[in-house]
């Protein structure tokens, strides 16, 4: 993957596949401790212990269209290349939590990439018969925080206007882009 936002997109897709209705994504850039932490937590169906024990192995997947699972091993490799690691906690029926850690200043650490596009894509991908998956995205940079929550957007839109209306998605994309730009460049 070219950047970390693509890994996040891919791993959050696992949560959607696991029929989560809420996925929390958080990114913490902390220059002081020189750590970049990415957390993806869902309330989906979780994994049985045997699967959890083997899921970092690329030859493990429950999908049927292809025999190799790649998403988790790719993220693990990216973390390990940067003096970090990937931890997965999961239990059947209550959900899954992935914590990916990188050394922030590591020369091989991929850039974070475009999180606005990742969120917009996830919102589109989270549409199902029952409605749509909710996402909470928290981005921390050296102690300052930006939060985006689809439940707040839904409250404004009401029941008749979908999150996936093209105009709404465009608004969300710009809103996140601006929020992150403020976090990075805004006044302290």
């Amino acid at each position: 993957m070219k950047d970390l936002s693509l890994h996040v997109l891919d791993l959050a897709q696992n949560a959607i596949s696991a029929v989560a209705d809420l996925v929390a994504i958080s990114i913490n850039e902390d220059a002081v401790s020189d750590r970049l932490t990415i957390l993806i937590e869902d309330n989906g169906k979780g994994m049985p212990p045997e699967l959890l024990a083997s899921v970092k192995d690329p030859f493990v997947t429950t999908r049927t269209s292809r025999r190799i699972g790649l998403g988790i091993p790719l993220m693990l490799a990216a973390c390990r290349r940067c003096d970090g690691d990937l931890e997965i906690v999961s239990s059947l029926g209550s959900g899954t939590k992935l914590t990916a850690v990188f050394r922030y200043s590591h020369i091989d650490r991929a850039p974070i990439g475009n999180m606005a596009e990742t969120l917009v894509t996830l919102i589109l991908c989270g549409i199902n018969e029952k409605g749509s998956v909710d996402f909470v995205y928290t981005h921390m940079l050296n102690g300052r925080t930006f939060v985006f929550d689809t439940r707040e957007i839904k409250a404004v839109l009401g029941a008749d206007v979908s999150l996936t209306e093209p105009e709404v998605l465009a608004w969300i994309n710009d809103y996140i882009k601006e929020g992150l730009a403020n976090l990075h460049g805004g006044v302290q």
Binding site: L9, L74, L124, V161
Partner: protein, 122 residues
């Protein structure tokens, strides 16, 4: 700054047009968004399609995702389903190809043959 007020205006505008488009049987555009697709560039393809649909006000087009289609080396893959027509599968799609697919196939009904899986196999 993007404001919630703007979002409320979008809501109002959308509600005004929503009744007009109910029960129209539209075109479905599906993008493969598994690991292989994402790594090959499916995200910008999906968003480009959304963008073109919005620019051209193609209200009866549904854009959706699917998992791994099982042809990883041909990703990004885009499938177009038009009512009453056979499914068309486009392979190795990028942003430029996506724009042509929306404008020629979805808007005008002309399949972009050179990007289809049939052309790739030749």
């Amino acid at each position: 700054m993007k404001s919630i007020q703007e979002l409320e205006e979008i809501r109002r505008r959308t509600l005004e047009t929503i009744n007009v488009r109910k029960d129209r049987s539209g075109t479905r555009v599906v993008v493969g968004m598994a690991t292989c697709g994402i790594a090959a560039g499916a995200r910008p393809v999906l968003l480009t399609i959304m963008d073109e649909v919005k620019k051209n006000s193609l209200a009866d087009v549904i854009v959706a995702q699917t998992g791994c289609i099982g042809m990883c080396r041909l990703e990004p893959i885009v499938e177009v389903y038009r009512p009453g027509e056979e499914k068309v599968t486009y392979v190795k799609v990028n942003e430029g190809k996506a724009i042509r697919i929306v404008n020629e196939h979805i808007r005008q009904g002309k399949v972009v043959e050179e990007y289809t899986i049939g052309a790739e196999d030749k």
